[in-house]
Amino acid sequence: MNSLFYPIIIPFIAGIITLLMPKRIKFVKEIIALLTSVFVLSIVIGLFRLKPLSFTLGNTLLLQLDNLSGFVTLFIAAFALLIIVYSFGFMKGKDRLNQYYGYMLMTLGGSIGAVLSNDLICFLAFWGFLGITLYLLINMGGPDAAYASKKALIIVGGSDALMILGVGIIYFMTKSFSMAGLSLPLNNGLAIAAFLTLACGAFAKAGAMPLHTWIPESSEVAPVPVMAFIPASLDKLLGIYFLARISLDMFIIKTGSTVSIILLALGAITILAAVMMALVQHNLKKLLAYHAVSQVGYMVLGIGTGNPIGIAGGLFHMLNNAIYKYGLFLCSGAIEHKRKTTDLDKLGGLSKAMPITYISCLIAALAISGVPPLNGFVSKWMVYQGLIELGNSGGRLWVIWLTAAIFGSALTLASFMKLTHAVFLGQCPEGRCERQEVGVAMWLPAAVLAGLCVLFGVFAYQIPIRFFIQPSISKTITYPGMWNASLSTGLILIGIVVGFIIYAIGSIKNLRVDEPFIGGEPLREDMKVSGVRFYQTIEDIPVLSLFYRWAERGLFDIYDQFRNILFFFTRILQRLHNGVLSTYLAWCLLGVIILFFVLR
């Protein structure tokens, strides 16, 4: 058997074994899951060093591990290991663990299968299968998750149905199902239709607008590890991986063409609209979910630029986003685990109670806001450079995209200020401030991810770009702007050290710790400043308030609109079916008369 099969088949087999395992047997499920994910990770590391690899069946190139799919596979396997470890803590004592670990392992196998597939049919099969496991995993959240899971699968699975159409058109045009080296020009309606239908699949998976609505909806009800693993990291990797595949290998997107502008516009809208929604959220998980949507915009923008630096930025941002968003969700899970709520109103002052979670979450929050020298900054900076490059090479409208991207980044920072304040700073509600850090199984994955954020930021050019990003795109990346991460980090560190020294010399002797107070009076519980209301006023700004109200009514939710239109027709048809036999006979007669007329 070809070695490329192992990382696909082994998780499937392990998943089925776990699924069929009776409830009584304890710990074995966890051990199987852990061993499988360790094994898959080690195989994938081995394969990554041997790349490129491929597997051919008959004349079709079925599986292929090249630079792009190689690094995506590597991170899928790594993330899977982290989530399994995290689940030991989070899912402990929960029901239906055999299903949970079983579906998780199948998700792992299916994702690796989708990434390695070069054959479009094979790809579609794995890709669609992931929709089913996602549906089942969201449903692990209990009875409340039924609606969200349904919505998720209708959007994700529905876009798969459209992808079949795209695959059909590609087969019609090229007489083959192979992805490699198609390079179809987007110069006729058919090719554009094929591109757009395939992009629909990528957008729905990654959660770009307008196919994003399932992510915030699921975030509140699905188990946190599921949200962290699938929509926040895995689906981003898969969706953007596929978008990169279709935009780089399968089609040629010309700068300034309609398709390119569609991509850029969707990216810009996604960034801004989702971050505006994030600003006004009251629930930690939902807030994170809107950011998960917003960040996709940068990746789409990066790939939409079509120049090497932009694409590299998009891919790098995909990786970085997967890392920090994953970390943020894991932290939210840790908070939920301890406090049994993720309502921002009921949290506060956790920095003392959960120091490791606090630090990990802070690093990830700074990274997502694009604060140097963390990884999010580097990739956003590359996307900006891509957009500027687009302007240099004659693209129109680039200023708009650039403004949207930068403005979105600022709003992201603002939104994470709110999050950090509401969750970790401020006062503890009801004085519950005792130290209650989560177990090592739960803080370790988040800490590892925070460490990666720093590592990939400080040594961006030395490690991730050199090993993963640059090899994935065939052209060399040229950097019009300068950013020397290591030097800057050094400077920042020196600044911090100097500041600390000044602080130590100046004020350490007359330090006084006291309860918070206002006007000499100790702060009471009802005077607590919650972060929730930081940006409430923006909901009252004239034009924005209208948009927020529309958004609340689901006017921007493609799912709701689709349903309204559908039920409009359904009601008409139902009225026609009145149950009277003579009506039905009249239809038959009418039908046959028309047939006689048509077929005469």
Binding site: F129, P143, K150, I154, A161, G168, Y171, H577, L581, G591
Partner: protein, 497 residues
């Protein structure tokens, strides 16, 4: 000794025995019906091997040679249909053992069931157009009675509507056959095909085609001739709903239509286009109607209208790939639709309701029904890697290949609506909070579980039929018969000598 007449003789004989002794010997109806369908299932699988070896078998009833006597024909298409019908009929009888226990007069049920099966096998195997009509009526009349089996108000009304409309269809079919007979002076399908080729189609074919579209289209529940189905299919007991929706509409409607249009009449491109349009209309409007339903079986019934649309679309495109896709979808739809009806029966058996609004959270109490129903739902919605995905894929690919882009796009979009209403079904019935008064619900009995698990396994493994060797043997050999068109006649007469 040929095996072809056995497909008709065994169920007829079993029906006779059950009606004669079934009343007194309590165990006989269950035993005999299951033995009968099991042996038919095995025989049908054997026939695949026979067809591979001999190509085509013709059985002359009473040793009269074809143009004169009635012949039974076993070719690729026949054995494809026989396998589909008899295998699924076996699982349905298995299911009926427990399910029908709560009805009185099991023996009446099995008598009618076996008569219907004999009629369907007859329609499939016959090579004579009038004989086809006779078998069609046997199956249809048995099904009218079966729909009314519960003899409550609702069942009787549905059965009445079904009977009136079904008879309308039968009479139009008969009218068409009369016209053809008057023109060709023969009733043997192969001979008729030859005569039509020699004499030219003339105006008569143009006149007969709409009659047949109405007649067989009504049996197949193609819009706008579908209106009986949403009443009739939900009213019947669950195994019969499964039989009607899974098999009967395909045998009496789709199969007969395909056989006559492709192999006998050789109709024009125009007609295929009309079939395709009718298919697209049924597909779309059926899905629109299904999503508005709250009665689980009614939703499934409208879904049948919609899925038949996919099959008609494939037939209407009429390229070899599309026909293969349509046949594949026919087989898949037979499995998952009967599975879903059996699931709905299990729910009704355990909870006593068909109303989705009164259910909820059944997964915790009925894990087997829940899991198999999820597999069936995902399969019919075309989620990979289940069987429905592959057949829809082939149909859509074929539509694009034939440059019917709009049809392909509609087929893909309807697939989304299909997913939406099956997820609605899943959510309302199996997920979410437990419905009121359902705390003590129990899982269905063993034989019902076995039947559902077996059908779900076929849905999972359905994609394996795409393996080149299996696909050639099972589906392509059937599709080739249709693609051969008039070549059918040559092969029939060739295999007699």
């Amino acid at each position: 000794m040929s095996i072809i007449p056995l497909f008709i003789a065994i169920p007829l004989g079993a029906a006779f025995l059950v009606s004669l002794f079934g009343r007194r010997i309590k165990i006989l109806p269950d035993l005999l019906a299951n033995l009968c369908t099991a042996s038919l299932g095995i025989l049908s699988l054997l026939s695949v091997g026979i067809v591979r070896e001999h190509g085509m078998l013709v059985y002359k009833i009473g040793s009269w040679a074809p143009p004169v006597g009635i012949s039974l024909v076993l070719d690729g298409l026949t054995c494809f249909m026989l396998v589909t019908v008899n295998i699924i009929a076996f699982f349905i009888t298995l299911y009926s053992i427990s399910y029908m226990a709560r009805y009185t007069a099991k023996w009446k049920f099995y008598t009618l069931f076996l008569l219907m099966l004999a009629g369907m096998n007859g329609v499939i195997a016959t090579g004579d157009i009038f004989n086809l009509y006779v078998f069609l009526e046997i199956a249809a009349i048995a099904s009218y009675a079966l729909v009314a089996f519960g003899i409550e108000h609702e069942e009787l009304e549905a059965s009445f509507k079904y009977a009136v409309m079904g008879t309308l269809a039968s009479s139009f079919i008969l009218l068409g056959i009369i016209f053809l007979y008057s023109y060709t002076s023969t009733l043997n399908m192969a001979d008729m095909s030859n005569v039509l080729l020699a004499k030219g189609p003339g105006k008569i074919v143009g006149f007969v085609v709409p009659l047949f579209i109405l007649g067989f289209g009504l049996k197949a529940a193609i819009m706008p001739f579908h209106a009986w189905l949403p009443d009739a299919h939900p009213s019947a007991p669950a195994p019969i709903s499964a039989m009607l929706s899974g098999l009967l509409i395909k045998v009496l409607g789709i199969y007969a239509l395909m056989r006559i249009f492709f192999n006998v009449l050789g109709v024009s491109q125009n007609t295929y286009f009309v079939l395709m349009i009718l298919g697209v209309i049924s597909m779309t409007l059926g899905a629109f109607l299904a999503i508005g339903q709250h009665d689980i079986k009614r939703m499934l019934a409208y879904s049948s209208v919609s899925q038949i649309g996919y099959i008609m679309l494939g037939i209407g495109i009429a390229t070899p790939m599309a026909i293969a896709g349509a046949l594949f979808h026919l087989f898949n739809h037979a499995t998952f639709k009967s599975l879903l009806f059996l699931n709905s029966g299990a729910i009704e058996y355990s909870t006593g309701t068909r109303d989705l609004k009164k259910m909820g959270g059944l997964n915790s109490h009925m894990p087997v029904t829940g899991a198999t129903s999820l597999i069936g739902s995902m399969s019919i919605s075309g989620m990979p890697p289940l069987s429905g995905f592959w057949s829809k894929l082939i149909i859509i690919l074929a539509a694009v290949q034939a440059e019917y882009y709009a049809m392909a796009a509609i087929a893909a979009s309807v697939s989304i609506i299909t997913l939406a209403y099956y997820l609605k079904l899943q959510k309302e019935a199996f997920f979410g909070t437990l419905g009121e008064g359902l705390e003590k619900v129990k899982e269905a009995p063993l034989t019902m579980k076995l039947a559902m698990i077996a059908l779900a396994a076929i849905c999972i493994a359905g994609g394996l039929l795409l393996l080149p060797q299996v696909f050639d043997l099972f589906i392509n050999s059937a599709a080739k018969v249709l693609s051969a068109g008039n070549g059918y006649a040559k092969i029939v007469f060739g295999s007699i000598r």
